[in-house]
């Protein structure tokens, strides 16, 4: 029993108040019982002799002890053993009934902890609406019962049997272990109930049995040491003043109804501990400065617009940040002003569209990032929910893009999506998703599908401890010679003519729902399903016509499209656009997510997509149909000459 051996050694170290004399190497130790996680060797490292045992070490030891005890003793059908796993070897012996598969005993557990400090500032028209800073600490425990071949995973709405619990702001072994004890009890019960429900569902379903539920662990289990890095002080006062100052620039834009300048910083220390012996630790600073504004067009259409600058360190309110912030405010407000004055798209359109600039990586982050996931469809009472399965899964080995294109995802590359270990403890390594147009790999976590049984290190974890498949640094490479923007637009218009149009559309920016949140207009909703995916609204879309005329238009929606649209990449640009983004993990995440500023740091992971302009054929644009509220009765203070004169 791999986990228990490692853990009991660490418990012994804790018992004598000192680290173990040598770092134990748990190699084989036999496979985990009841179809355990296999015999993958695991290596561990513990504090060296003579080093101080920190509160963090003690807390980790306590967690590992509790995980070992839970795996050894948590049973629903019999009374808990009276033995003490801390010093009683017989506790390692599982009931024979469980070995026969009669009892859904736990075989794997993982604790994920996050201790966070966040700063949230919201400036609006020179005032500060929000100035909040708080430390928080929370953990989750996930328990798997049964065995890797068949466990409680993959059930819609009950996946992971995860329980969450509060932990002390500073590491404290006793309180954390006690709360883990109660949470693990709940997680185990939930897992056992889900397991039974799943067995009943599977007994009803025809067809091939589903793939195994849980893949093997990393070949080498990581035991990451504690990093003693002094945190950069957070420039709360400076950033607060900056948020107010930047938002005061709104006073020069009476055409804008409303808006905010947000500065947020989330400093996290995450720890992941598995019953197999893996220990992951990571500290990070993630910050964002964003500008979000809204106004009404003359016909009443409620328009919003926003942009963000993302940071992977704690920003300081220096001149450089001020300069970038001012430029961002001015850009957002001028773009929104132009949008409010822009005409509506005249009619629906079905033809070629050029994704230029940021829009090209944003388009890939809305499609590939979510649809290349390897997570199989979850089960429900009615069978597999195929609509929730990433659409590229069935296309493995098939041509999904033009044969000149490769898609490579490399977490080791310097970029916004860089990481060293994934959330399951797998060492980061590059993968080629698409080679010469053929889909050759998927974004795999430890949840296998019928094509892939093992992880390739794509499990990412957000600060709220949500895990799932996500890309890292994705880049599109093409052997086809890229074209200039002018050449692309000529080709665009040529193809549009073939479709009967004397104009075409260029999208330069997609609406970032992870900054803006949901669209404030019901008429702007599009719905995926039936093997089609909903795409973000164009934020900046231009109608281009022969002779170089370009007109910004509003009210355009991209119709839900199938992933086959990526086969219709007809031409590419000659310059690569690299865009850092923050997205939610899993098939529901990607750039099309809508966390808004409430969740832009807590619910997301960092990714980066690099791609040239993309000319796609056969994309459908729809004219938004919707009623708008009439314009305000009251006069905005900046549009009221009497207001600006002051009191009296």
């Amino acid at each position: 029993m791999i986990g228990a051996q490692i853990l009991s050694t660490l418990i012994a170290a804790a018992l004598i108040g000192a680290p173990p004399a040598t770092a134990p190497t748990a190699s084989t130790g036999g496979s985990a019982p009841s179809g355990g996680t296999g015999s993958a060797p695991a290596t561990t490292s513990a504090p060296a002799i003579g080093t101080a045992v920190t509160a963090r070490d003690r807390e980790i030891s306590a967690i590992e002890a509790e995980l070992a005890r839970g795996l050894a003793q948590l049973r629903l059908t019999e009374a808990p053993s009276a033995c003490d796993p801390d010093d009683d070897e017989e506790c390692d012996e599982r009931p024979k009934a469980e070995v026969r598969g009669e009892v859904p005993a736990p075989y794997f557990a993982v604790v994920r902890m996050v201790r966070a400090q966040f700063l949230s500032l919201d400036g609006s028209y020179g005032g500060v609406i929000t100035d909040a800073s708080e430390r928080q600490a929370v953990a989750s425990i996930e328990v798997r019962v049964g065995g890797p071949q068949r466990d409680n995973g993959g059930i819609f709405g009950a996946e992971g049997a995860q329980a969450r619990f509060l932990i002390p702001l500073d590491p404290a072994a006793d309180v954390t272990r006690k709360n883990l004890w109660l949470a693990m009890d709940q997680a185990y019960r939930a897992a056992a109930i889900t397991y039974a429900a799943k067995q009943a569902i599977l007994a009803r379903l025809a067809g091939d049995p589903p793939p195994p539920d849980f893949g093997p662990p990393p070949e080498t289990l990581p035991r990451l040491p504690e990093k003693s890095v002094a945190d950069e002080p957070i420039d709360r006062e400076g950033l607060r003043r900056l948020a107010a100052e930047l938002s005061a620039r709104f006073s020069a834009h009476p055409e804008i109804d409303n808006g905010d300048v947000f500065i947020q910083l989330l400093r996290t220390e995450t720890t992941t501990i598995t019953s197999e012996g893996a220990l992951l630790r990571e500290r990070s600073d993630r910050a964002v400065l964003s500008v979000v504004a809204d106004t009404r067009a003359a016909d009443g259409m409620h328009l919003d617009h926003g942009r963000a600058i993302h940071f992977q360190s704690a920003p300081r309110a220096d001149d450089e940040l001020r300069r970038r912030g001012e430029a961002l405010v001015d850009q957002v407000l001028s773009e929104l002003g132009a949008l409010a004055a822009a005409p509506m798209i005249e009619d629906d359109y079905d033809g070629p569209v050029l994704f230029a600039g940021d829009a090209s990586p944003q388009f890939l982050a809305s499609t590939v990032a979510t649809q290349a996931g390897g997570k199989p469809a979850p089960l429900s009472d009615g069978g597999r929910l195929r609509d929730l399965e990433p659409q590229w899964q069935d296309d493995l080995g098939k041509e999904v893009m033009p044969t000149t294109i490769d898609l490579v995802d490399d977490p080791r590359e310097e970029g916004f999506g860089r990481y060293v270990y994934d959330a399951d403890g797998f060492v980061a390594a590059p993968i080629t998703l698409v080679r010469r147009g053929e889909l050759v790999d998927l974004l795999m976590t430890r949840e296998p599908n019928k094509f892939r049984g093992e992880s390739n290190g794509r499990c990412r974890q957000s600060p709220v401890l949500m895990t799932g498949a996500a890309i890292s640094n994705l880049r599109l490479e093409s052997k086809q010679r890229g074209r200039s923007r002018a050449q692309l637009e000529r080709e665009l218009l040529r193809r549009a003519r073939e479709d009967g149009y004397d104009f075409a559309y260029v999208i330069e920016q997609l609406r970032d729902g992870n900054v803006l949140g949901p669209v404030p207009r019901e008429g702007a909703s599009t719905f995926g399903g039936a093997r089609k995916i909903a795409l973000p609204l164009p934020a900046l879309i231009y109608k281009v016509e022969p002779g170089g005329k370009r007109t910004l238009v509003r009210g355009a929606l991209i119709a839900p499209a199938s992933m086959r649209v990526l086969r219709r990449v007809r031409a590419l640009g000659d310059a690569r656009h690299t865009v850092p983004m923050r997205v939610q993990v899993g098939a529901g995440g990607g750039f099309a997510g809508e966390t808004g500023m409430d969740g832009i740091l807590s619910h997301t992971v960092d990714i980066q997509v690099a791609a040239p302009d993309l000319l796609l054929d056969g994309l459908e644009l729809l004219r938004e149909q919707g009623e708008h509220e009439r314009l305000p009765e009251l006069v905005h203070p900046l549009r009221d000459p009497a207001w600006s004169k002051g009191p009296g």
Partner: protein, 638 residues
């Protein structure tokens, strides 16, 4: 693997931007409408937490030590006089500007009233568990509620319809605004929210007018107007501030220590100690000329712990100390004593026998009596419940009639800051509609004399009596402040147990019931259901008539109907028991107090409480470490 709104998420989500708020306002309004209906129809009250005080000691006496008489000593201080802050002028200017636009010529439906209610809140939340801090937050925010009225005072958008008390009707808003008195930032926010409130007000008025056209007139009942005429009030207090960082630093070790003490037994599954400090500085102006600048600080220390009986029943103990000034906070020794008591009570409750359904004599000791009156009686005297057709209107037509025994009086007096030196949470000077707080005689010698009123009149009462209250973001409705019960027929507290035994013997009952603490409860005021109540006691003892020692029982709920229950009060104790806590109802959570002597009742009915049947944790509690060393079996085998 799933996500939920725990920890980081929950806190981060609290910070919405105005445009998001506005965009979601329609959806929010619909969601909250449903909530309000649920609250009114099924569980009007129930979020009230019990206050500080000592619990019953078997064989001893309950309640707090009072002044020894039946009339407690009440302190009614005068408000300090301060200078207007810049916010007053900004609000007045914006109010004038916006009302002019909404009530000007050509408006199909002009606004006839506008009020801005700006509340700046400074708050400290310090929470410890098992000797460790698990949450610490200091935040400062400010929000504005905007009340726009269209129509006229007889029928406007505030018209009570089917339990709908907003939001979405133009009353209340709770929009976060600039923390500082920045004219443009405040003006822009007020522009946003006034516009949306006006639109909501128009919709609500149209709905009210349609409803009234289709509704039959109740015979012999004069319709009460929707909005009262009040004299303008100018009330300016100095702003109040507390050094929250200093308080946090001072109290962190104390809270940690007490939490450690509370958690010492492994049978205590969950426990925590919270130190919560809230300072609200309010600026209120309305279009009638009222301007109010008021301030209130509340400091609370809450201890709570949970255990589980072997049959799965979750057991909870809670204690709350609530004061207005830091120097009024309890000493650490008192907190430690409280922690020990709560822990011991929980351990006793774990092994206590289950209560059986029973009707017999009972004592509701001190604050339990206060909770009882608050839940069962006080809420039924709130003005809006006399007007809404959905409400049971138990007391609406009973003015001048007997509703309580003749030896009881009941008042609600928010002007009282302390009773017998004990701070009351329901104290305020001006209500949330800019009306001066007033003492209201509700019951005199057992006869009903009045209702709790905000600016929604209940004829024959045409004016507010200063009880319009709300939590930020809600419409104001009439609420309790300090509900105080006064008795002319008292028994010394020390002799109540003896009187209970005498009554049990007289009735031939084997025992009487002593209710030492009540968690809260609910009363059904919706007329589609029975006008019944259920109250959840936390500590109940059987007091045996044959001299056996008193016996703690668990799993009992008090049930009944209000008029019948209060008729059985035989006598009261002679010392005031004080309940301080937060009360949740249609207008949100507001701080309240209830003061009552213990009650001796001829008959109260209890029934078995429903409870969870989950097994206790499958494994025993893990071993505890000492100075970083995990201890062996002996430590954990309690």
């Amino acid at each position: 693997m799933t996500d939920d709104d725990h920890g980081v998420t929950r806190a981060m989500r609290r910070h919405e931007r105005p445009s998001q708020r506005r965009a979601s306002q329609g959806r929010l309004a619909r969601g909250l409408l449903a909530l309000a209906l649920v609250l009114t129809s099924a569980a009007t009250v129930g979020a009230c937490r019990h206050g500080d005080g000592e619990s019953y000691t078997p064989g001893g006496r309950g309640g707090r030590k009072g002044g020894g008489g039946s009339i407690p000593a009440m302190e009614r201080p005068k408000a300090a006089i301060g200078q207007e802050t810049a916010a007053v002028a900004i609000l007045e200017r914006e109010l004038t500007r916006n009302l002019a636009a909404l009530s000007g010529d050509g408006k199909e439906q002009p606004a006839y009233f506008l009020a801005y209610d700006l509340v700046a809140r400074e708050q400290l939340w310090l929470e410890a568990e098992g000797g460790q801090v698990i949450r610490q937050r200091i935040e400062r925010d400010r929000s504005v509620d905007v009340d726009v009225r269209v129509g006229d005072r007889e029928l406007d958008n505030g018209h009570t319809q089917g339990g709908n008390y907003g939001p979405g009707n133009g009353l209340g808003a709770g929009l976060p605004v600039s923390i500082e008195d920045d004219p443009l930032a405040l003006s822009q926010a007020l522009w946003v929210v006034t516009e949306s409130q006006y639109r909501d007000a128009l919709s609500a008025l149209s709905s009210a007018q349609n409803t009234e056209q289709l509704r039959s007139q109740e015979e012999g009942k004069e319709e009460s107007p929707d909005f009262s005429v009040e004299k303008p009030l100018v009330h300016i207090e100095p702003p109040q501030h507390l050094d929250l960082e200093k308080l946090a630093a001072e109290w962190e070790p104390k809270i940690r220590g007490v939490s450690q003490r509370l958690a010492t037994d492994p049978q205590i599954l969950e426990s925590n100690v919270v130190f919560l400090v809230t300072v609200d500085n309010r600026t209120f102006v309305n279009s009638e000329g009222t301007k109010v600048q008021s301030s209130i600080a509340r400091l609370r220390i809450m201890l709570s712990a949970e255990a589980q009986a072997d049959d799965g029943m979750r057991l909870e103990r809670f204690e709350n100390f609530e004061v207005h000034l830091p120097e009024q906070l309890p000493a650490v020794a008192e907190l430690e004593k409280t922690a020990d008591r709560l822990r011991d009570e929980l351990l006793a409750l774990r092994v206590a026998p289950l209560a059986e359904p029973y009707v017999g004599p009972a004592v509701l000791s001190g604050r339990a009596a206060g909770v009882f009156f608050h839940e069962i009686f006080g809420h039924r005297l709130e003005g809006h419940r006399q007007k809404d057709d959905l409400e049971g209107q138990t007391f609406s037509g009973m003015l001048g009639e007997k509703v309580l025994p003749g030896f009881l009086d009941m008042i609600d007096d928010p002007t009282v800051a302390q009773v017998d030196g004990q701070p009351l949470s329901g104290h305020y000077y001006v209500d949330d509609e800019g009306v001066k707080a007033q003492k209201v005689l509700l019951v005199e010698k057992g006869k009903l004399r009045g209702f709790l009123l905000g600016r929604s009149p209940v004829l024959p009462f045409e004016r507010s009596n200063g009880h319009g209250r709300r939590e930020r973001g809600n419409q104001v409705v009439a609420r309790q402040g300090n509900l105080i019960i006064l008795s002319r027929k008292t028994i010394p507290e020390g002799r109540l147990r003896e009187a209970l035994i005498d009554e049990a013997k007289r009735q031939g009952k084997p025992y009487g019931l002593w209710f030492s603490d009540i968690q809260g409860g609910y009363t059904i005021t919706d007329r589609s259901g029975p006008q019944a109540f259920k109250v959840m006691p936390l500590l109940v003892y059987r007091v045996w008539a044959d001299g056996r020692p008193d016996e703690l029982v668990r799993g009992a709920d008090i049930v009944g109907t209000p008029i019948a229950a209060f008729e059985t009060i035989i006598a009261t104790g002679d010392e005031p028991g004080i309940f301080n806590g937060m009360c949740g109802a249609e207008s949100g959570d507001v701080p309240v107090s209830a003061v009552s002597p213990s009650l001796l009742l001829r008959a109260l009915e209890i029934e078995r409480a429903s409870h969870e049947r989950d097994k206790p944790p499958l494994l025993p509690a893990p071993p505890r470490s000492v100075k970083g060393v995990v201890t062996g079996k002996k430590e954990r085998s309690k």
